[in-house]
């Protein structure tokens, strides 16, 4: 009864940890899918003008729809639990990652591309040795924003479309009028969010140490 604890369930700490791990796992899976899909698509859209012209209208229509508005569809398509939650996290994290990657690719300095050409680079080498690394800071910013939004989407998704996880837990204790446990769940959401953000920032600083100090 770790996942849906009743009043006579497991000890409180185990329940809190269990739900935290469930939520964390969901967000990591959803975020990983969003990172891979967002970066790949973003590189393609940001590098080739015609791909951008083709896909931009679709993206610009889908993007303003808040992930939470997808909850009914997510439940219809995927039922309850892991899959709809992952889907909603993906939705939330995907767009900031995509747009920041596009922005980064598009703002590849023309000079660097020219220098690479005069040094003998072919088009593939220009993409992977100039475009992608020069977009890296922007991509990392997208990942940081993405994981934050993904985490919020997850908690919101669990409030309605789930029977486990931190979101579900705070809603459950709201219905049993146990405010302390609801607050404990909220605090856990805050702490985990902060830790994920900090970890990503550390990775970013490590990868992008070459950036010009502000």
């Amino acid at each position: 009864m770790l996942i849906a604890p009743g009043p006579a369930g497991l000890p409180w700490a185990g329940e809190l940890w269990g739900n935290t791990i469930i939520s964390l796992w969901r967000v990591l899976v959803g975020f990983a899918i969003a990172a891979i899909s967002g970066i790949l698509l973003g590189v393609v859209i940001g590098w080739w003008r015609n791909v951008r012209d083709l896909l931009e209208p679709i993206i610009e229509i889908l993007r303003p729809i808040p992930p939470l508005a997808w909850i009914p569809l997510a439940m219809l398509w995927f039922g309850l639990g892991f899959k709809p939650a992952v889907f909603l996290i993906w939705l939330g994290a995907f767009f900031p990652i995509l747009l920041n990657t596009v922005l980064g690719m598009e703002s590849t300095p023309k000079k660097l591309v020219e220098v690479a050409k005069t040094l003998g680079a072919n088009s593939g080498q220009i993409l992977f040795k100039v475009g992608v690394p020069s977009a890296a800071p922007s991509i990392m910013a997208g990942l940081r924003i993405g994981i934050g939004i993904g985490w919020m989407c997850l908690v919101a998704a669990e409030l309605t479309g789930s029977n486990s996880g931190l979101g579900y837990m705070i809603m459950y204790y709201y219905s049993t009028m146990e405010a302390a446990k609801t607050v404990a769940g909220m605090l856990m959401i805050g702490i985990v969010g902060f830790l994920m953000f900090t970890a990503l920032k550390k990775v970013e600083d490590k990868l992008l140490f070459w950036r010009v100090p502000p």
Partner: protein
């Protein structure tokens, strides 16, 4: 055909502006032959098409008319046999000094061990030994330009194209870099095409000076510089050439 290293024949370039369809002539009927090992400077006011010319030779821009030949082979696009050095360095900020210098050999699939040797050689040549692991953000302007020169040389190009390479450096660094460029040139004996707006710099460095006029850029006059190296800026011959060419740039050619 000719024995020139680089032949620029009847190059014209015009741009049509997006709005209104107005046509700007940047270059008109430019001709020049650069001999092997020769240092040619192109001077002229800003907007006279100097940079456009260099980009056409580099293959980054296509001429509206005319052809460029390297050893009698027609230039059709950018290539590693024509190294280009920009005014603003254009280093890859995510690569350290060595990483920047090996960029060209890396693209051409030179084996890793050999690449490192090449990098060491050129880093030493430009006087940056000991800075191999530094990133562009940690380097001064003069050091950055040295890296850019080493990077262009690492491909062992036939011709070195330099677009106001010292234009953004302070006066002291600039004159230091000019001395070092001469040293590098005398070591390597590459043909150099050097664009600058400083007549003094051109007289100090080159074998021949081409004066361009603005819009459209055409050759006004060509001055051979027969002074022996190293040159002294206070030398009488130096000063009189400098004055003569400065006069020509501003409209009084003799």
């Amino acid at each position: 055909m000719s024995k020139a290293k680089l032949t620029i024949e009847h190059i014209s370039k015009s741009f049509s502006e997006k709005k209104g369809g107005k046509i700007t002539h940047a270059l008109q009927d430019f001709n020049l032959a650069v001999s092997p090992g020769e240092f040619v400077a192109i001077v002229g006011p800003s907007g006279c098409g100097k940079t456009t010319l260099l980009k056409i030779v580099a293959g980054l821009e296509v001429a509206s008319e005319g052809e460029v030949y390297l050893d009698n082979n027609k230039v059709t696009g950018p290539g590693p046999e024509r190294g280009l050095v920009f005014q603003d360095f254009a280093l890859f900020p995510w690569r350290d000094v060595t990483g920047n210098v090996v960029f060209g050999p890396e693209l051409l699939n030179v084996p890793a061990a050999e690449r490192i040797k090449i990098a060491e050689h050129y880093i030493r040549l430009v006087g940056l030994s000991g800075n191999e692991r530094k990133y562009p953000a940690e380097l001064s302007g003069g050091m950055k330009q040295r890296v850019a020169i080493a990077r262009a040389l690492a491909n062992d190009p036939e011709v070195l194209l330099m677009d106001e390479p010292f234009g953004s450096l302070d006066a002291q660094t600039r004159s230091q870099m000019q001395k070092e460029l001469l040293y590098i040139w005398q070591e390597n004996r590459k043909a150099v095409l050097f664009v600058t707006h400083s007549v003094e710099e051109a007289v100090y460095l080159s074998n021949r000076i081409v004066v361009l006029t603005g819009s459209p850029g055409t050759i006004k006059q060509v001055f051979p510089i027969d002074l022996s190296y190293p040159r002294s800026r206070s030398d009488h011959g130096f000063i009189s050439l400098r004055e003569k060419i400065t006069g020509c740039v501003s409209g009084n050619c003799r």
